[in-house]
């Protein structure tokens, strides 16, 4: 394993995207970043710009409006980048499956490395998902 990958495991910076979720998963993601769970112990930091990101945390099914933005975000991210989908909607469209503006789950459009199902998933589950992705590096 190269030194850069080893360092990547120790400091995954997270960028959070909402592609049309109902906001419940976003609240749980924010919960996972609070002092109670203190993910900065493992070097996980929420960053404001996609250029700084190592992990793309996506919540929600892909809507028609958001698809071009999602693709552009993925192209703008510096590689290597890992993509994690949080919530049942992002994984399989969930209860929004028959919505008129829903055009499919996230993995139909960009490659996904991990799925964290749940409606919404608990913060512990989200952290477990991130740990599993880092284990595949």
């Amino acid at each position: 394993m190269s030194l850069a990958l080893k360092a990547l495991k120790k400091s995954p910076w997270v960028f959070h995207v909402n592609t049309g979720a109902c906001n419940n998963c976003d609240i749980e993601i924010l919960d996972a970043l609070t002092p109670r769970f203190d993910v900065e112990r493992f070097g996980i930091v929420l960053v404001g710009s996609i250029r700084h990101a190592d992990v793309l945390l996506i919540s929600g099914p892909v809507t028609r409006n958001v698809l071009p933005r999602l693709k552009r975000l993925y192209e703008q991210a510096p590689k290597p980048i890992k993509v994690i989908v949080v919530g049942a909607c992002g994984c399989r469209c969930g209860i929004f499956r028959d919505g008129y503006n829903i055009i499919g789950p996230v993995d139909k459009y960009i490659p996904v490395d991990a799925y964290v199902p749940g409606c919404p998933p608990k913060p512990e589950t989200i952290i477990a998902g991130v740990v599993k992705v880092l284990g595949t590096l």
């Binding site: 120790k10 203190d38 900065e40 112990r41 404001g48 250029r51 510096p78 290597p80």
Partner: protein, 310 residues
């Protein structure tokens, strides 16, 4: 032979390598103290090093609208300037006889280059938010430089010389600058200016993570971002040392003074971090009014007191 020695000074000790390592450790102190204020555990000590190594291994993206040379060159120039300032300060502190006339002016001048390089680099990024950040950084630079220079002038007036050697000798002989009324006032104002120079909260207006998504370093990625962050870490290391040299008797590695030197340094760093953690971000107009109003008046009072001999 001299050339080899200067290269050693600049690149190994007390230049780039030493400054980068201690600067990164200082950012760890920052993050750890912040975590303790939040009632968290905080990152392990090697966290800044892991961040830097990771960033060096990532892809560098140059935006399509960016002016490539300026965008990539400017962080390196800022890094070189910050390292040079650190080298001069340490060489002068460890061997005062190597000081030259007007070196305090040189250091003050070099310490503005990282801010200027960030302004140019962010303007070259072609991102509207980056350009907004660079315009704010420029206004902030104009705001804090005036009180900062007047405060440093109080020390220079008392020492009667622009050279660090004279300033350090005076403080070793006749007590530190902090021991007088004018020194205390100038010290407080300088800490505020350092807060703005480091673009820390309450003056993180050019970066403003929640508002400009990173502002001046928004478009940097990979190794370029590593250089930008290293630049900030080195500035975080140099500015407290500059403050100690000008007001608090300097740094020394002789005998017990090692311990007091480190304590002085850590105390100033913790004060800066605590200010950072207990304040909200101000608007740019409020920041300019703060520096050109109360801080300028305080620094002028310090100057008058110094002239009167207090």
């Amino acid at each position: 032979m001299d050339l080899a020695r200067y290269f050693f000074y600049y690149l190994i000790f007390p230049g780039f390598l030493f400054t980068a390592v201690v600067g990164l450790l200082t950012t760890w102190v920052d993050r750890k103290v912040t975590a303790r204020v939040h009632w968290r555990v905080g990152p392990p000590w090697y966290q800044p090093f892991a961040d830097t190594v990771k960033l060096l291994g990532k892809e560098i993206i140059v935006p399509a609208q960016a002016q490539k040379t300026g965008f990539l060159l400017m962080p390196v120039i800022g890094l070189a300037a910050a390292t040079l300032a650190s080298t001069i300060l340490w060489v002068v502190n460890l061997a005062p006889e190597s000081s030259f006339i007007g070196d305090s002016i040189v250091v003050l001048y070099i310490l503005t280059i990282p801010a200027v390089s960030m302004i140019i680099g962010a303007s070259a990024s072609g991102n509207p938010l980056g350009i907004l950040g660079s315009s704010r950084e420029m206004k902030l630079l104009f705001a804090y430089e005036l009180p900062l220079v007047i405060c440093l002038l109080t020390t220079i007036y008392k020492a009667g010389s622009f050279s660090f050697q004279r300033i350090l000798e005076l403080q070793q002989a006749g007590g530190v600058m902090l021991g007088s009324f004018s020194g205390v006032i100038a010290f407080i104002v300088t800490i505020m200016c350092i807060q703005a120079k480091l673009t820390f909260i309450p003056f993180d207006i050019p970066e403003a993570e929640t508002e400009l998504a990173g502002g001046t370093h928004l478009e940097y990625s990979g190794a370029a971002l590593a250089v930008v962050r290293l630049n900030m870490a080195i500035m975080f290391f140099v500015l407290p040392i500059f403050l100690i040299t000008m007001f608090w008797g300097g740094i020394s590695f002789v005998g017990w003074r090692i311990l007091t030197s480190i304590l002085k340094y850590v105390a100033i760093v913790v004060i800066i971090v605590l200010i950072k953690n207990t304040n909200p971000r101000v608007r740019i107009d409020q920041a300019v009014r703060f520096f050109w109003g109360p801080m300028l008046i305080l620094s002028i009072i310090a100057m008058i007191l110094a002239v009167l001999g207090y």
